[in-house]
């Protein structure tokens, strides 16, 4: 682990240069952080026997690394240390409904991170990474629930991916054919928002009566999730 701050501008590499839709591209690190902080599920891309595999998995981010984990028996994880991965986090914010089918699209925020993950072996960093991962999805749970014991820690593989090589794409706002010839067609155009919200907590049927959800869980009901 290092205490150095990453530069505030994301470095441009062959993979992160935005070849198309340049206006949507952002190399600002603050935007990367915001996209990562808004979620907890990523799609991890690995190459196995020459073919790609894309696995949904939870993550935690501390602004310098993205942490993800799994069983030490997991196929995608075993393949990923020492091998290049691409991790993508996407939030869909709405449908862009234009006058023409061709101009239809999606409002979204997406981050792509490239690199070779490192298997975390330092016990202190492993605990810190698992803390981050748990707190990213469910803030307050690490202190509330029973924390991992030695056997559970040994059964968990934690990987750290540097956030150095990353790109962000964000699309917001109305469709783009509002000042073109199709505007005369009289077709309704706009955005249909897609909202992600937490529901009310549902108790495990095996839970004895009299145990209420803790405040950090109860307070999230009906709040935005990203």
């Amino acid at each position: 682990m290092t205490d150095e701050q990453l530069p505030s501008a994301l470095p441009e590499t062959a993979r992160t240069r935005h070849r198309r839709l340049r206006e949507q591209g952002s190399r600002e690190r603050a935007r990367l952080d915001a996209v990562l902080e808004a979620g907890f599920l990523c799609h991890l891309g690995v190459v196995i026997d020459g073919t790609p595999m894309v696995v949904p998995t939870v993550y935690g981010s501390d602004g310098r690394h993205l942490y993800f984990h799994g069983s030490v028996a997991s196929r995608s994880l075993v393949a990923s240390p020492e091998a290049a991965v691409c991790v993508t986090v996407t939030h869909v914010d709405g449908l862009v409904l234009a006058r023409s089918v061709f101009e239809h699209g999606v409002n979204y925020r997406s981050a792509m991170i490239y690199g070779v993950p490192r298997l975390v072996t330092d016990p202190e960093e492993k605990l810190a990474g698992l803390w981050r991962l748990t707190e990213q999805a469910a803030p307050g749970q690490w202190d509330y629930a029973r924390q991992p014991n030695r056997k559970e820690l040994a059964a968990t593989a934690l990987l750290a991916l540097s956030l150095e090589e990353a790109s962000v794409k964000i699309r917001t706002g109305a469709p783009e054919d509002g000042d073109g010839p199709d505007a005369a067609l009289g077709i309704w155009a706009g955005v249909l928002p897609l909202n992600s919200t937490w529901g009310e907590p549902e108790a495990d049927p095996l839970l004895p009566t009299g145990i209420a959800p803790p405040a950090h869980i109860a307070a999230r009901g009906n709040t935005p999730a990203d």
Copy 2:
């Protein structure tokens, strides 16, 4: 195109065999169809220069193929015909909050499809695929909006991926430590649902007054999105 029905059981291959969490695995085609029908955004994994790239993109599915598209200039698309891809569709349904951090998890429905996509060149299939793609995200829009002209069709690359090699993983319900030693800890456990809903349509600021959203859009406001 073929009119043959795919077999109702998904074939087991080295990639789709569930090595872990076998109980979560499903090779039933009906479940695959349900996961695909519930969404419109996938994560497309391709290998470029030996390293993976995971790109969010919209799709349409007709039960035999998954269609996805993009600009003919797109890097991930140009790489994908004739090359293996993995397409993953994931719906997150909630957080599984267990007594122990180790047993925390996510309720989700996820499909992974493996194969080599085919560039669609037949004009009839291309139109049908684009229809499917548009209708999957916004049912009713194909007939309502202006349909693609010849120039727009030429600028669009459409790819078809067979649904033959696919796997589905679904997790539902309560955490799994309700009948173990941790149940005695008195810790609340259950599920925090994550809901995805459409918002009210937002008109393009450039839209002249007096054009109301069509019924197929207006009716979706405040309805579940997956």
